[in-house]
């Protein structure tokens, strides 16, 4: 215990309080100071956080618990609903439907994005993976208080299990996504396999940052109230509903937005499964000043033909797609290391009432 956690209110002992009578209370105690006595017999402070190495080993030992907990929770999640497990598929479908209705049909926000439905649904589903992981991990400690207070195990097992629930959910929604994308006319190609490493990286990212969110949610009481607003802001700046490159803001801000982790993983998946995206990527074709200028003038307009929309492929690349992979890896590793450290630091504090 550090000094700042020392007894803060000695005055709490009210004046009239009687202390333990006689010497009976301290009878049977060894003569030496208790701390030395405990150390001599190899006892450890009970509220101590284990070193990171042992903590990770303990965590690895509980891997079956993590998986079993995730499966059990996933089943229990929908037992109250009449349609049961069907909601795992219905939820992402309805989500995509709402966004398509508002942004695709009513607001005409597509701004020359080819296959807007495929573009939108991919973005919504990939973003949802991170969003759901955060929303659930923000309350995992408070949700599991009885478990935490009854049994000793590395607490990081709980947020990990919650992220695993979302992985299962995400895999289902990816099946739905594949069907939608094929219906919108995208071809099934070998590029689709690239979605697997992209989603794996996103999973690592979610695990790491989910650990951090779990600690914030357990210590900052107001965090889970604030989180939905943070997530919605993140959704709007990550190019889920529109292409970031078409925003009317300074170029450097566009680059920053494009490099944020959500946008990176969304773009990686889009480029994997949407041929229209791959072909319209700036720099997908050799640079051609004439054709690029044409894209800037007519490609944006709502009346542009598909051919004109694709002309951005002849512009300079904003970010080379290969860089996206490096950023994707970097975000995942960074989130995992920082998130784990941040969560582990407070290990002894989870479960305080």
């Amino acid at each position: 215990m550090s000094n700042d956690r020392r007894l803060s209110a000695p005055g709490q002992l009210a004046a009239g309080d009687e202390l333990a009578p006689g010497g009976t209370a301290t009878a049977e105690l060894p003569d030496e100071p208790l701390a030395e006595f405990a150390a001599k017999h190899g006892l450890r402070a009970s509220a101590q956080r284990p070193p990171a190495g042992r903590y990770i080993r303990n965590l690895w030992q509980r891997r079956h618990f993590i998986l079993a907990f995730a499966t059990a929770k996933n089943i229990a999640l929908y037992t109250e609903a009449r349609l049961g497990q069907l909601w795992q598929v219905l939820t992402p479908l309805l989500n995509a439907g709402v966004y398509f209705l508002i942004f695709g049909l009513l607001l005409h926000i597509s701004r020359g994005i080819p296959n807007y439905l495929g573009f939108l649904v991919t973005g919504v589903f990939v973003f949802n993976f991170t969003q759901r992981a955060y929303i659930s991990t923000s309350t995992v400690i408070t949700d599991s208080l009885p478990l935490i207070r009854a049994l000793r195990f590395p607490r990081a097992a709980l947020p990990l299990a919650y992220v695993m629930i979302e992985v299962e959910q995400m895999l289902l929604s990816m099946v739905v996504l594949a069907v939608i994308v094929l219906i919108t006319g995208e071809p099934l190609t070998w590029y689709w396999l690239l979605a697997i490493p992209a989603l794996l990286l996103q999973t690592v990212f979610n695990v790491g940052s989910g650990l951090a969110v779990a600690r914030l949610g357990s210590t900052v009481n107001d965090f889970s109230q604030l989180l939905p607003f943070l997530m919605r802001t993140w959704l709007y700046v990550s190019g889920v509903l529109f292409s970031i490159s078409t925003l009317g803001i300074a170029h450097k801000y566009i680059t920053i937005l494009q490099l944020n982790p959500a946008a990176i993983y969304i773009t990686l998946v889009r480029n994997a499964i949407l041929q229209t995206q791959r072909q319209s990527q700036p720099g997908a074709q050799p640079y051609n000043a004439q054709l690029c200028r044409e894209w800037h003038t007519v490609g944006h307009s709502a009346h542009a033909t598909k051919q004109q929309q694709m002309l951005s492929a002849y512009c300079h690349p904003v970010t080379n797609p290969a860089h996206y992979w490096y950023y994707g890896i970097a975000w995942a590793v960074l989130a995992l290391v920082v998130g784990f450290y941040f969560f582990w630091r407070a290990e002894a504090k989870y479960g305080r009432g």
Partner: protein, 273 residues
């Protein structure tokens, strides 16, 4: 006792709870805004000094009963031993891990008893194989019968605490902390759980038992700690003597005892078989 191996050393332990929004403030949005505008730290923070300088040593094979009135800090003490409440001052040292078995510790309410057993075992660090081996024993011990397939929230409080006890007691815990968990069980279950606690003590574990049923403490424990307002009034191995003094201090009628064995003449707990 000098040669015995200490399992739990509590060294001048102080535990303070901080309660937010206690009294004073009406707790409305307007008062919260005023508080923030005035840059006051939450004026209504109250500190409850629940444990005030407790020291004792428990040894391998001990069953320690903790008695005292409501709010005397018994549950807090167990939580601190389990490492769930960081000490404000002083420290708790344990040899091995402590498992706390509380009356409110519904593990996972929305899952079936069966799932709770499996998850409980896995969380305690058992392998899948061990869990499979232990499962029938736990289900049998808990005696919840066919209810094992139903979510735990449908259980009566007695059934719930039986299942929880069965799970936590299935592993030879180094230190088992039982907080009123046996209070709701029926007579048959009490006999079984006493036998199990004896067994755990035999496996070189240490058991702490918080109970308002003093007879239970008498029958199970070889040592007793009497707490009052976060401090130890007295502790020792004279279980019956301390309990009688406690009953006297709380104004209860003295217990009629067999002059030789000290056993209660009107016992409400069936004899062990």
């Amino acid at each position: 006792m000098a040669a015995a191996e200490p399992m739990v050393v509590v060294d001048d332990l102080h535990v303070v709870y901080r309660v937010y929004g206690a009294g004073g403030d009406k707790g409305t949005a307007a008062t919260a805004l005023l508080r923030i505008m005035g840059r006051k730290t939450r004026g209504s923070i109250r500190e409850v000094h629940a444990i005030r300088g407790v020291s004792f040593v428990a040894y391998r094979g001990d069953a320690v009963g903790v008695i005292g009135r409501n709010g005397s800090g018994k549950t807090t003490l167990l939580r601190a031993i389990a490492g769930l409440l960081p000490p404000e001052q002083g420290n708790v040292y344990t040899d091995g891990e402590a498992a706390l078995l509380g009356v409110n510790a519904a593990l996972l309410d929305d899952l079936t008893g069966e799932r709770n057993v499996v998850l409980g075992c896995l969380a305690m660090g058992m392998t899948k194989k061990e869990t499979r081996e232990k499962y029938p024993g736990i289900a049998d011990f808990s005696g919840v019968g066919e209810f094992i397939d139903l979510p735990m929230k449908t259980y009566s409080s007695g059934m719930g605490s039986r299942l929880r006890f069965a799970i936590a007691a299935s592993k030879s815990q180094d230190i088992l902390l039982v907080d009123e968990a046996l209070a709701t069980g029926d007579a048959e279950f009490r006999v079984k759980s006493h036998a199990r606690i004896e067994e755990l003590r035999g496996d070189a574990g240490t058991v702490f038992l918080v109970a308002h049923n003093l007879e239970e403490v008498e029958l199970t424990c070889n040592r007793v700690i009497w707490m009052e307002r976060g401090q130890i009034v007295t502790q020792g191995e004279d279980v019956i003597g301390i309990i009688d003094r406690y009953i006297e201090a709380s104004g209860g009628a003295p217990v009629e005892r067999d002059p030789v064995t000290g056993a209660r003449i009107h016992s409400r707990i069936p004899a062990k078989t």
